[in-house]
Amino acid sequence: FLFHKWNLLCVVTMCRAVPINDLIYRASQQSDKLHALSTMLTQELGSEVFPIDRVHACHTSSLQTPTDKEQALQVSESDLLSLARSLLQAWSDPLVVLSSSTNVLPYSAQSTLSKTIQKMQEHSKDLKDGLDILSSKMGPAAQTITSLPFIETNEIGQDKITKLLSCFRRDSHKIDSFLKVLRCRAANMQPQMC
């Protein structure tokens, strides 16, 4: 009866394709939510649990991303999408590891972390699906995903958790920023999206 996936909107027997602008807009909403969750997590867990701003090497640091506005606005749409997808993909495993490592945290933090990580995983997955479809409409450069492997597979200790969460906060912000620049580029007919 009701069917809504990234690329199709179906009611009863009628389906129609979702236009690209809407895809991008929806993707940016997901990325916004994803980053908001991450921010909320850092705030709730508090600065004693981890120094949120001290970010050192992340497993995604090797991926070159713009460092100021001028650079960012020069990146092509396909590259923006490719960067976003690469970053998103890079967090798939670490989120799993994070979710199974919560027991090393103080008890009060555990359930917050668990719940939030789960939501982050859901949004990530949904975003990934959307970006996959979007990229299929955007040409080869958008299809490129840089592999950014995450080595840990076992449970990690508290300070590693801290670092990971800081890294995720940053990467989710990057993803969100790229998608929002992308949506403005696509928004020529609909300025209210910007």
Binding site: A36, H56, A72
Partner: protein, 585 residues
């Protein structure tokens, strides 16, 4: 070298300045504290610090920083641009997604004291300047004035490229003692309409903005505007005090009440009066007894009637719509940036919960039309008092246990009512065609976007439930002309009942089937037919027609609902008739 000499000289001279007897001691400077950095546009940033004591000696301050991943220590490039005890980083010195480790050091003749270091990333510290060019004009719509407020983003924030995404919030208050600010979140739009004004009053308006993941700006400078006096000689009920509303209801030419309570279905009606007043309770215009509420084309804002109207009902609901200040042309009330569609939906007006939005004090009353489904489809306007609590109240009072297909992700959400494009028409006989919007647009993923904008004018997007100053009106009976007689009820009446819909205490309807016109026929289990037997329609079945595309008139008394594309049919065959939308993520 010079410095050294200078320092030595200073040390030598010191004893000459030290008063012998007063015992003043000089010391190292106090630690600089409270280092705070902000970026107005994600392209430059400034750090400020709070000096500690100077130890009794002239003290200078210096800021040093290291960038993430580097050991090179740099000194602040600019101590002046941002004023005292500050350091300004221009575009060339600012990088994003790179952590700065910052230390401020205070130096006096006796030595140095270092602050605690601070790590910042420019993208997390964005606090824009306030919005600019705030303009407020008094406009009129069918005699009622309203305020159109518009503004621009702060100059430096680059919203055009998507570098910064801003959301706005405005606040309004009357210029009088003890009046309080009313806040309204305006989402990404730069325009907002405010209704239910006090005739002759002067209003103060301010607006502020916030980037998607940053801090609110300061409030803009205040705009003042004076609302002209209402000129009609009739009751011009701008300021709906409860007694006025009551007295407006209990007027002599209003149909007399009866004592026939038991037989009657007690319904709650919201008397809403859109521009071209269609609520024909008194005047059976041309609608054959149809009780409709249809907004006019241009009306996309909250409840208003005409200042000039004769119609009592209009006056009443004009008063009732007192505090309705939400809907506006580009209506994105919800618009908080972090919301996905799901959250946006959650915040949208939920029909059955609207009543709960009303602050529970005695002065808030509702006049509700029947069926209550009429009202809805507006984004939820948080009560100025406590938006979040109201939301919670919503959720609790709304149906939360309706049956959804197993896969539905929104099963734990309140059932939301239809968006603007759907409204209910209660017809006692063959209805007339009524306008519909293109519902397709409703389903866009960006549900938190401009909802009203989608309204192409034919649909009552303005069917808003007032958030205050409404009262419950009991349907007494239907008289011979199939008119619904209203009778005010005491304000203490339970709010929950208002959630009932078209005679349903129980908001579930069983699906009877789908007829050949793609009309979903619902069967009412709760039989309260008296109220539905109008125009002599003898059908014993009560059907809700939910047409996919066009409503079909039926001979049954019916509720015709223009399509909402997302329709959930519960596994059990029950459809929550109150449900117009369910949203998945």
């Amino acid at each position: 070298m010079m410095t050294k000499v200078g320092e030595v000289l200073l040390l030598l001279l010191l004893p000459a300045f030290v008063p012998h007897t007063d015992g003043t001691r000089y010391s190292l400077p106090g630690k600089p504290t409270e280092i705070k950095c902000r970026s107005p546009e994600k392209e430059t940033f400034t750090c400020w610090w709070k000096p500690g004591s100077d130890g009794g000696l002239p003290t200078t301050y210096a800021l040093y920083y290291r960038k993430e991943g580097s050991d090179v220590v740099h000194e602040c490039p600019d101590y002046h641009t941002a004023g005292k005890n500050s350091c300004f980083f221009n575009k060339n010195d600012t990088v994003i997604w790179v952590s700065y480790n910052i230390t401020v050091v205070a130096t006096n003749a006796l030595g140095k004291t270092y602050s605690d270091p601070v790590d910042i990333d420019v993208v997390y510290i964005v606090k824009p300047h306030p919005p600019e060019k705030l303009e407020v004009t008094v406009m009129k719509d069918q005699g009622w004035p309203f305020l159109r407020v518009s503004w621009e983003p702060p100059r430096k924030a680059d919203t055009r490229s998507g570098w910064i995404t801003l959301i706005y919030e405005l606040r309004v208050k009357l210029e009088e003692e003890e009046s309080e600010w009313e806040n309204h979140v305006a989402g990404q739009q730069k325009m907002f309409n405010i209704f239910s004004l006090r005739s002759g009053g002067t209003y103060l308006i301010q607006v502020r903005c916030k980037p998607d993941h940053g801090f609110w700006s300061e409030w803009s400078s205040t705009s003042y505007v004076k609302v002209p006096e209402c000129k009609t000689s009739k009751k011009c009920l701008f300021s709906g005090k409860s007694d006025e509303v009551f007295s407006a209801l209990v007027v002599s030419d209003f149909p007399p009440t009866t004592s026939n309570y038991e037989d009657l279905l007690v319904e709650y009606l919201e008397v809403y009066v859109p521009e071209q007043q269609e609520l024909m309770v008194d005047e059976g215009k041309d609608h054959d007894g149809c009780l409709k509420s249809i907004g006019s084309a241009s009306d996309s804002d909250s409840g208003r009637g005409s200042c000039d109207s004769d119609n009592l009902l209009m006056d009443k609901s004009g008063a009732a719509k007192e505090e309705q200040q939400q809907q506006n042309q580009e209506g994105d009330q919800i618009g908080t940036e972090t919301q996905g569609p799901k959250e946006a939906w959650e915040k949208e007006t939920m029909l059955c919960a609207n009543e709960d939005v009303v602050s529970p004090d005695a002065s808030s009353k509702k006049v509700k039309t029947w069926p209550s489904v009429f009202s809805p489809v507006t984004p939820y306007s948080p009560s100025p008092l406590d938006p979040h609590n109201s939301l919670e109240m919503h959720k609790q009072n709304c149906l939360s246990d309706t049956q959804f297909p197993p896969g539905s992700p929104s099963s734990d959400h309140c059932i939301k009512k239809a968006l603007q494009s759907s409204y209910w028409e209660v017809c006692f006989n063959n209805n007339q065609p009524y306008p519909q919007t293109d519902v397709h647009q409703q389903l866009q993923a960006h549900s938190d976007r401009n909802i009203s904008a989608i309204n192409d004018g034919n649909v009552p997007s303005n069917l808003l439930l007032p958030t205050r100053m409404t009262e419950y009106v009991e349907v007494q009976r239907l008289n011979e002309e199939n008119k619904v007689l209203l009778h005010p009820i005491p304000s203490g009446h339970s709010r929950e009942k208002a959630c009932s819909w078209v005679g349903h205490r129980d908001n579930y309807s069983k699906v009877k089937g789908v007829n050949s016109d793609n009309v979903l026929l619902l069967q009412r289990d709760v039989v309260e037919e008296e109220s539905m037997e109008m125009a002599g329609a003898a059908e014993s079945c009560y059907t809700s027609s939910i047409a996919i595309n066009t409503p079909k008139p039926t001979t049954c008394s019916h509720i015709a609902l223009p399509v909402q594309e997302e329709r959930v049919l519960a596994v059990s065959g029950y459809v929550d008739t109150a449900t117009m939308f369910s949203l998945d993520t």
